[in-house]
Symmetry: C2
């Protein structure tokens, strides 16, 4: 038995398809993993750690480009800790801003819901 995880195992663990995992590698989000004696990819724990944070970044709206930038910093060693922190803090702020914007957008939607709930035929700007 070889050490590490096959692409299928990582797919099961992360919920990403094998196709997507190879795509992430091509896109520079994931450093090319080692290979087993049969030439198949063998992923290790740190790959899983990277995928965990990448999926959170993606879920919060980070683009592939920005994720690549983060991944590049990670590959450049501990000297980039500060740059990574800054990058993540900027992203954090963007997410907070987006949550605030969503709340604002919800207000109009909720006023519309109220309008429909009241069956209010008075004028409230058509649709």
């Amino acid at each position: 038995m070889e050490t590490g995880y096959t692409i299928a195992e990582v797919s099961d663990i992360t919920g990403l398809t094998a196709h997507t995992l190879r795509y992430y590698e091509r896109a520079g989000l994931l450093s090319p993993p080692g290979r087993g004696s049969n030439g198949h990819r063998r992923y290790v724990e740190s790959d899983l750690g990277m995928l965990r944070i990448l999926t959170r970044l993606k879920a919060t709206g980070m683009t592939i480009q920005e994720m690549r930038r983060y991944a590049e910093l990670c590959r450049s060693g501990a000297a980039t800790f500060e740059a990574r922190r800054v990058l993540l803090e900027e992203h954090r702020q963007q997410v907070l801003d987006r949550i605030a914007a969503l709340r604002g957008d919800l207000e109009l939607i909720e006023s519309k819901i109220k309008f429909y709930a009241e069956g209010d035929t008075r004028d409230l700007a058509g649709p």
Copy 2:
């Protein structure tokens, strides 16, 4: 002077390009507006009202397909008030769920920020 707004005026008001406004019409989000004597589109207040809600729906992640469904209900008259309310309430819940998910995703990102801020070289799962 003809009544209503030209496509350029609506573009200015909404921030959507004229191209996008025509696209929304093609896509069934906006009922075809009236035309001036020169054949140009003349938008009216209710079109602006529709665009206001559409932009909020879009900003909160609704797809064009779903917006078309809403627009179709709007075109079908007051009998669809209840259906529109249900549609908007379902969307509202999805947005609330998404906000909650974003908050959850932020937690991992923030733990990572903390890790980098402390320059903590102890093991905390690699990248």
